[in-house]
């Protein structure tokens, strides 16, 4: 049996291209040299989604009774929007009854990679509002994250489950800074087992503490799903009420209005 393969291929060329692409990757990772490609890819997805939606609606309206169909769709969209805004208002009103939904700025999710959200820990999305930075964002189910920066014509939203995101929360009488671990729909809180620590229970509700100055106090975040007790620390898993994949409609919350 031959020890060496008779297949003809250049190991030198392979090694050469490994080096070339390592350099390319390094440059792109550290200096975002080829970020334009990703912007093009994002814009192709956004435009193709729009084109598909428009084409779809064109053919549907041509087939159905145009007037009735469009009226129904419009009614449905309005009702859906009203319903979602009512839910968001209801969520905010847990804080203050008289200010129902006063500070809500409607926006839409324009780009969200659901695959990387689940697989790769990319917990960010692009939204239509690019003007307001560092505002809490919610959907009809509750708080989902905060706006962090402008990204072209869009705003970038960092989700609560992002490992770079910290959210000051209150669980019973305990205060902590909840952080993400890139696990969808879940955040975590770590407590030192000191004298100040009061017992927490599974299914106990978690609220924002209002510390940090971005998120208003008293918004319901989710429930404790798991408690992991070690020798010195207690780590609490919190399942969030709101899933960012549920609806494209989101609302920015003006802090000073609430």
């Amino acid at each position: 049996m031959a020890n060496k393969t008779p297949l003809r291929f250049s190991k030198f060329l392979h090694t050469f291209f490994v080096l070339i692409f390592s350099a390319t990757l390094y440059l792109d990772l550290t200096q975002n040299t080829f970020s334009l490609l990703r912007v093009i890819q994002n814009s192709i997805i956004i435009s193709s989604d729009l084109a598909i939606a428009k084409t779809n609606s064109f053919f549907q309206s041509a087939l159905a009774n145009k007037k009735n169909y469009q009226k129904l769709v419009k009614d449905l969209e309005q009702l859906n929007k009203k319903y979602e805004i009512e839910l968001a208002k209801k969520y905010v009103s847990t804080k203050k009854e008289n200010d129902q939904g006063k500070g809500l700025i409607p926006a839409k999710i324009v780009y969200f990679d659901a695959y990387k959200y689940v697989c790769c820990g990319v917990h960010e999305m692009l939204i239509s509002n690019s003007q307001n930075k560092y505002l809490p964002v919610l959907n009809s189910d509750g708080l989902i994250g905060q706006t962090v920066e402008q990204h072209g014509n869009f705003g970038k939203l960092m989700l609560l489950s992002n490992p770079k995101h910290f959210l000051p929360v209150k669980i019973g009488k305990n205060y902590c800074s909840a952080f993400g671990k890139a696990i969808p729909h879940t955040i975590f809180c770590s407590f030192d087992k000191s004298n100040a620590f009061k017992e927490v229970l599974v299914n106990e509700e978690v609220f924002t503490s209002g510390l940090g100055g971005i998120f208003p106090k008293g918004l319901k975040i989710g429930k404790i799903s798991e408690i992991d007790i070690s020798e010195k620390y207690v780590e609490v898993s919190i399942t969030l009420n709101a899933d960012p994949r549920n609806s494209p409609n989101i609302f920015l919350l003006k802090n000073n209005e609430i």
Binding site: V18, F21, L37, P163, A182, P184
Partner: protein, 160 residues
Amino acid sequence: MKFSSFLVIISSLILGNYIDSLLVIAVNKPYFEISFLTMIFFYWCYAAPQYFSLTIIIICGVIIDFINANYLGANTLVFIIYSLVIKTYVFRLRLFSQVQVSLVFGLLSSLGFTYFYYILFPDGYQYTKLTFNFFTTIILWPFVFSACRYLRRNFAFELK
């Protein structure tokens, strides 16, 4: 190599990539990681190494990088390394049983997975994912092999 064969190869890789993302989104579990893309790539390197040239590998890698909006070279680099390893040992691998080949490819896939997550998406890296990826590659390889062989024999080209 005919252009139609190239189209079959690139389409199968894109389909693999699409199935990966669909499954991950549908299952929605933090440990779930499956790589049909890698297995289909392994197949073409293993079954038709003389046709699956470096140029085609680079083109496929760049296209997959573009489709996934990854950093340029993320998939391309790992594809070239896979190709280098498999082409070096391809005729030895053909003497192995399917179980042995599955084990080798499972290991290669795990190494690629580790590189991919550790460098590009460290936030998403988990040992449970790595283990899941290793075992699913071993289990699914015979099926992917059969499906790709059918595809090659009927639509791409005969191995000479």
